[in-house]
Symmetry: C2
Subunit: 367 residues, 2 copies
């Protein structure tokens, strides 16, 4: 399911950004992150350590500087920006010097928060620039998804859930976490996922630390298994967490599970345009705290989802930003009891005109 | 196969770096990249967008600032550095301010080439620091592998080759590239690989562009399929490219294949301590150029391999660095004919005391 380039208004996105740059008095921007390059040009190439950048002067011609290795695939973007390539031997210096001509030799240039020190030194060799963080302009644009983007996220959600349904039914006592993870990855790809950037299978006490990678622990009777997985479809991500109970839940497991489910429910019912992100977090946290697990809910309630697995809006107690229609994010309260077990459920939601559309439809708990 | 922490001298690595910092007159360093954090402390956590940094003053106590979420796993590093954690709500600012006390409020601080603009702004809030790129100090240390590291790379190579042997025998005309990739990933994990960070399966004309991701193209009779895959074992990578011929090679495919194999052979026989990286590149390029494909060998001959898939030493025409015993890198000449086909073979080698040890043992071409 590739993006239909004809349906995506890359030029419009670039133009909107350039208008904002111009209003803020910036000479232009240099965009180098994978997700923003993909958003603005459709380029889906991973650059690793090689330099690649979109040079957007606030007025004048835009340019894309990429390694020669990527010249072929980048050629598709010829209508958006002029394309300059460099070989491994030359390095990007000369190309960058050339395209910075459109910026003048001094002035303020916008860069992303992830802009790398090496690239910053490269700009400084070429002119007297001061840099300004413009990530918030880009993440603000990207936080609201259009119909094409929403379709891709929905597709990513559905293939993830299909893979989960297939794989969970095959889990048996004695299987290793990494075996379950490998099967789940394959099943999601079979259903049409392009890539599975993360796939956590945490059993028993391993689930008590949220980011633990799957290991060789064998799943045992009485375990709660937390599975946190997502895939990409044309670059857009899903992110789903489900709980699998191996045998009957113990009483403490049951209590934590119920708190998490109710917290998620309350948070989701809070979502609508104009509500502050932190109030969604608060709604979840209140339930978990009321159940006596406040200290055990060690992370934010959610994060935006799109070309990145973690992006704006962040649903945490410090974010007073108002939700806007079209934003897509996760709602994922969790409770973690060190050395014992963890539970978390995570669904992906969209802010609709009057409330909340839940994009993930499947069972939250498998018994 | 986890790293046996007792066998790895993390304190020694940190001490060596601090000595170099001190000699260069730096107040200290802030290390934030995944690979360098893992090399210096053993921490294997992916931080995503959250800040994590090792603060190494040239003298005085070292500190590790990590998100609260990672506090549990980072606690293992308590003997190496004092541990400070921050919640999502607080952010890292206060912790960073505190640990920078050991650096003084001004002076030169070393950072990596990948140090991010956001983090640079954070340092600037806390003192009048000038930053200097110290990546080359770290990559120089990491380029030479000790026995423990070599053992992990060898293990990663062998499980990758076992996965390739199993999977290639299952390839049939009509299978999609992504199906082959999914099976190969699963097989490598079955054999003991922990993670498969990349898995390219490029058939027919798709192999003519080196970095093309696997897609839904069905493998056809007469195709050359290029498979470029690697896995990690305790964080250390393998990187192997094999060619699968579906039916008999055509005469041009055969000619390109022979050139690539001979180029690789010549490059490998060049490898020994003291030889310049660029002379290894030249040895491969001379053969390919002699066969009339000079223009079609569009990338460097190889790259270092370790905690990162691409690291020092880079084997390209611009690198006059002398090879040292213990360096590990790929040798991977290729020929790409646009719209038609591509061929590349890639093996992983180690500079031994008198020559070259090839770490990948399997067949290069499957027919």
């Amino acid at each position: 399911m590739p993006v239909n380039r004809a349906l995506v208004d890359y030029s419009g996105r670039m133009l909107r950004l350039r208008r904002v740059l111009d209003e803020r008095g910036l000479a232009g921007a240099v965009v180098t992150s994978y997700a923003n390059l993909r958003y603005l040009t459709g380029s889906s190439e991973e650059m690793w350590e090689r330099f690649a950048g979109l040079f957007l002067p606030s007025s004048g011609e835009s340019s894309l500087v990429v390694p020669e290795l990527s010249g072929g695939s980048a050629a598709a973007f010829g209508e958006l920006a002029s394309l300059l390539t460099y070989s491994d031997q030359e390095g990007p210096g000369e190309c960058v010097g050339k395209v910075l001509g459109a910026f003048g030799r001094r002035g303020r240039i916008g860069v992303e928060w992830s802009f790398r020190f090496r690239d910053l030194e490269l700009l400084r060799e070429k002119g007297r620039y001061s840099l300004q963080n413009i990530s918030v302009m880009l993440s603000g644009m990207r936080a609201v998804k259009d119909d094409e983007e929403l379709g891709l996220i929905k597709k990513a959600c559905s293939v993830t859930e299909e893979g989960l349904e297939d794989t969970v039914s095959q889990i048996r006592v004695g299987m290793m976490e990494i075996e379950v993870a490998a099967r789940l990855r394959e099943s999601i790809v079979d259903h049409g996922g392009e890539n599975v950037p993360f796939c956590l299978v945490q059993s028993g006490p391993n689930a008590a630390v949220p980011h633990t990678q799957p290991g060789r622990r064998k799943i045992a009777r009485g375990d709660v298994v937390v599975i946190d997985v997502g895939c990409t479809v044309a670059g857009y991500n899903s992110d789903v967490t489900r709980v699998v109970s191996i045998g009957r839940l113990g009483s403490e497991q049951k209590r934590a599970m119920e708190a998490v489910l109710e917290a998620q429910d309350k948070a989701i019912s809070k979502v609508r345009p104009g509500v502050r992100a932190k109030d969604v977090d608060k709604a979840a946290r209140r339930v978990v705290t009321g159940a006596g697990y406040g200290e055990n809910f060690v992370h934010r309630t959610g994060h935006g989802l799109g070309l990145e697995v973690h992006e704006d809006p962040y649903i945490n107690g410090g974010n007073a930003e108002a939700l806007r229609e079209g934003m897509v994010f996760t709602v994922e309260p969790g409770v973690y009891l060190k050395g014992r077990f963890g539970v978390r459920v995570e669904d992906d939601v969209r802010v609709s005109s009057r409330g909340c559309e839940v994009l993930t439809k499947g069972r939250k708990v498998f018994v």
